[in-house]
Amino acid sequence: MASNFYFNNFNSKGEQGLIQDLIVESIKMYGIDLYYLPREIINLSSEFREQQTSQYNQAVSTVMYIKSVDGFDGEGEFLSSFGVEVREEITFSVANFTFNNDVGSLIRRDRPLESDLIWFPLNKAIFQIKYVNVRPVFYQMGALQFYDVTCELFEYSNEIFNTGIAAIDTVYNAFATTTTPYHLMSEEGVLLSTEDGFELFEEEYDIVNQPDAMNTTFTDISANFIDFSREDPFSESNARIA
């Protein structure tokens, strides 16, 4: 038996458009402006099927509704053996039309993608998209009008930020533990390295941007009682000379 023709509007483009306009308008009224940062994978490891390095070179402004109105979800803040971890989650709703109009028209994104980032202006923190629910409401009037985007606070692993937004680039590149700023270079800008190809960097290089790192602490303490006269087993001082 077929559905009632007079009440079934699932194929009505006009009704679908009306609901879409209402959703877009609602999110514009009650939503928040934020930045969407698409991920660019520099190197993909084929063996382990994971990205080795990523960078974020764009920040596109768009509007999303904060669905987690009671605050951040997730496990919150706790102490692990690796230090303080903050596992906060947040869910945004973004209209399909808005996303396509704001983001999709500028970058190659048909929908919000997992692993892309969202800069949340209220606490000036970046959240990484973990999961995008493309059917948060199941075919209202026969169409899908918005996405639910579940995000968690960003787990930083020396990703490169070059978005042009100082509030993002300056804050997040400061977490890097790379030796790049300490590399020794020639006047022509060529990186100096040893005969074995190891890069040379300034002696005062240290992890200064992570207060709980104890690399230098151990060196300073043990310098008083460890005998370094014997080199490590792979140094040239242990090589047998014929």
């Binding site: 190197n43 993909l44 596992r87 960003f154 787990e155 930083y156 533990t177 790379t178 151990f218 460890i226």
Partner: protein, 276 residues
């Protein structure tokens, strides 16, 4: 009985620092698709257990963190202490310092250490498997299965270098990737080590022995007499060595570094009679 004379040689702190030093200069390199190195990253290391309020005040002082955690990082902690009977030494052997610690012929001494194995659990947290493997692959070749460092455990006074082997017992990979997409992947490499440590008791002080006396008995079951030999340093007031007791200054004025001679005085006793 224990605790009458409190002592603390800071050995646990030293063992923790030794272990931390083994892994405090680990770098990993990342490449682009063409194989060019684009990042060289030093891996932070820290001793895991810490006071909670200090952790919060240090790591998230504003209470509004902008990152969940920064990776990669290494953490370690002591998880086991057990006696090592196979390394037991003669208890009454003493180690004596090589230096006159206050210029008055006073030396430090300590009895043989007690051997204990300290278990260390080293954990490596990375965002990707390849980052973790880059770190582990730099660690494994050094442990065959031990890596020995030379340490002055009791300071430079004793001039004593002790070998401290650290044995790699096991490597485990905890990769929690099987979950729904809202769950984060947690990737931890767990390496268990055993450090073959020694623990010394209290360090005491004693003065330099300047006089020795030896009595030799031909027969200890009968009163048959003995030979008594006393040896002491001899030094004239001019700082010259002498074996003549009449020319020597008092032995209390003779120091280890002086150019002294030996005054040997032997007496024989025969059933109560004495002859020099």
């Amino acid at each position: 009985m224990i605790g009458g004379n409190p002592f603390y040689n800071s050995l646990f702190k030293k063992y923790v620092a030794i272990f931390g030093t083994l892994f405090n200069s680990v770098f990993i390199e990342r490449e682009d698709a063409a194989g060019n190195i684009i990042q060289s990253i030093k891996v932070p290391i820290a001793y895991g257990p810490r006071e909670k309020f200090l952790a919060r005040l240090q790591d998230n002082p504003t209470g509004s963190a902008t990152v969940s955690i920064t990776l990669p990082r290494i953490s370690f902690e002591i998880d086991r202490i057990s006696y090592a009977p196979d390394r037991k030494l003669q208890t009454l052997n003493k180690t004596v310092s090589q230096k006159d610690i206050n210029g008055n012929n006073v030396y430090k001494k300590v009895f043989s250490p007690a051997p204990y194995d300290i278990g260390f659990k080293l954990q490596i947290l990375t965002k990707t498997m390849e980052d973790g493997l880059k770190i582990v692959e730099q660690i494994l070749p050094y442990f065959t299965p031990e890596w020995t460092v030379q340490v002055e455990l009791l300071g430079s006074d004793f001039n004593m270098i002790t070998n401290i082997p650290t044995v790699l017992e096991s490597v485990a990979i905890d990769d929690q990737y099987e979950a729904d997409f809202t769950q984060r992947r947690v990737l931890i490499f767990v390496l268990n080590f055993t450090m073959k440590a020694n623990f010394y008791g209290p360090i005491t002080e004693s003065k330099l022995i300047k006089i020795t006396e030896v009595k030799l008995y031909a027969d200890t079951t009968a009163n048959s007499g003995f030979i008594d030999t006393i040896i002491r340093p001899g030094l004239t007031s001019d700082g010259l060595p002498t074996s003549n007791a009449a020319l020597s200054v008092a032995f209390a004025q003779i120091n280890e570094a002086d150019n002294f001679g030996f005054i040997i005085n032997t007496t024989q006793t025969y059933s109560g009679n004495t002859s020099g």
